[in-house]
Amino acid sequence: MDATAHSVAGRDGLAVLDAEEIRRALTRIAHEILERTHGGDEVVLLGIPTRGVPLARRLAARIGEFEGLEVPCGSLDVTMHRDDLRLRPARALGRTDLPPSGVDGKTVVLVDDVLYSGRTVRAALDALTDLGRPRTVQLAVLVDRGHRELPIRADYVGKNLPTSQREVVHVLLTEVDAQDAVMISDEGRPS
């Protein structure tokens, strides 16, 4: 890919995915979810706050377009289950919002923006255990940047992005950041 260095909304860094590419990646993931779950039967999409939640909603909307299927969609906050809570001051909680149908016996697809160490996903698996017993749990991410610290992998990946650990990957989404882009830079906001 011919990515050129430029600044999006004053943020320095290299844009690795633009809005159009994000849209195509999500479209592909939506098709893959339908394929792998035999038509999206019993699928529940759970976004991990902050940016996993709008991604999950977009995937649900895509699946709705393709199959006319209403996929239940919610959010799963993992803050209280994190293993690094004591490394930082107590942080504000995100929202956990399950669809009324619950998760018991369902195929839950966790949705997040970036897969990195895998620790957030581990926390999400713990949080999910307390909420019910899904039949299967799968993972969809927009960007997989490598450097796993736990034996965790994604089932659906928007883009594999080889990075160095010094680099920072920002996913910007219209719902949160007023624009769609994936940026990579040497340093940036603390995640």
Binding site: H81, R86, R88, L93
Partner: protein, 317 residues
């Protein structure tokens, strides 16, 4: 957030809103099959109660347990305090046991503040004499926000809500904490009480004062009734209970003067028939039972924000 929660004045508007927003997220836990989070695993919370209490102690205990903390309950009855041990020696004992937080209820105003100077962990004031009871104010603010600002969601204050606090303000730690907290959240607070039951320095408090409950009722969004604390009364503050009840008690006729949406609160325990009539306490407008449920949620938020993160820097030094 500061390391201790001694006074509602320790909380900035931002701190208070963070606690309310955290409590809002934790509230859904009560509806889940597993009402427990692993967040404070391995942390120890000591409930140090020198004064009788039902709901506050149970509420703190439930809050700490739902966050997986270990809870040690200490009540003065049946302990070495009955043999004359001082607060400081008791505190040092707890310190040696490695308490990460001490929740203290004491009959002496300032006890929580003194304790904070002696222990390394966080101190949460669960009522000190006639001084303060900040977690009660937080749960009251949380209840008001859920009832009257339900649609505003996260980050919403109590701006413009008119709260009338009625009765024994002089002996009430709940009133002081509520005046401080509710006013920093933007509410307009009025105290309605007989002059003998108002503290001397009430003119320095961020609130209005009235001696006439009936003129305040039609403009109130919230009426908070205070318990007449006969156990703390060392003089005659009003001619008779019956006269107090007629002028400052909330009965059905008075409740009818409230606006349609107004709610009736009471921190408990109630003296039915004195400051609040039974029919009012049991009416649909009363939030008294809800306040108890919200107490657990709010205290979980406080314990999480005090203990859930890294240790406060001054502890290390």
């Amino acid at each position: 957030m500061k390391r201790h929660l001694i006074s509602a004045a320790d909380l900035s508007r931002g701190d208070a809103l963070l606690i309310l927003d955290t409590a809002e997220e934790l509230a859904s836990l009560a509806d889940r099959p597993i009402k427990k989070l692993p967040t404070l695993r391995g942390r120890t919370v000591v409930n140090l109660f020198f004064e009788d209490s039902t709901r506050t102690r149970i509420s703190f205990e439930a809050a700490a347990k739902r966050l997986s903390a270990d809870v040690i309950n200490f009540s003065a009855k049946g302990s070495s305090v009955a043999k004359g041990e001082s607060l400081k020696d008791t505190a040092l004992t707890l310190e040696a046991m490695g308490a990460d937080a001490v929740v203290i209820r004491h009959s002496a105003s300032g006890a929580a503040h003194r304790l904070a100077g002696w222990v390394r962990g966080s101190v949460v004031n669960a009522g000190d004499g006639t001084h303060e009871h900040p977690t009660q104010a937080l749960l009251d603010a949380f209840t008001i926000r859920r009832k009257l600002r339900a649609s505003s969601g996260r980050g919403a204050g109590l701006d413009g809500i008119r709260v009338t606090i009625v009765g024994d303000v002089l002996h009430s730690r709940v009133a002081r904490s509520n005046v401080l907290l509710l006013s920093s959240l933007g509410a307009e607070v009025t105290l309605a009480a007989p002059p003998t039951l108002l503290p001397l320095a009430v003119d320095t408090w961020p609130c209005a004062v009235s001696y006439d409950l009936d003129t305040e009722l039609p403009k109130s969004d919230v009426v908070m009734m205070l318990r007449v604390q006969q156990e703390r009364m060392t003089a005659a503050y009003f001619p008779s209970v019956r006269e107090y009840s007629r002028r400052y008690g909330l009965d059905a006729a008075r409740m009818a003067r409230l606006p349609e949406h107004a709610i009736v609160m009471h921190p408990g325990p109630m003296n039915r028939g004195v400051e609040i009539a039974a029919e009012v306490a049991d009416s649909a407008r009363s939030t008294i039972v809800e306040q108890v449920a919200n107490g657990v949620t709010t205290r979980m938020a406080v314990l999480y924000l005090l203990l859930g993160g890294t240790e406060f820097p001054e502890v290390a030094s």
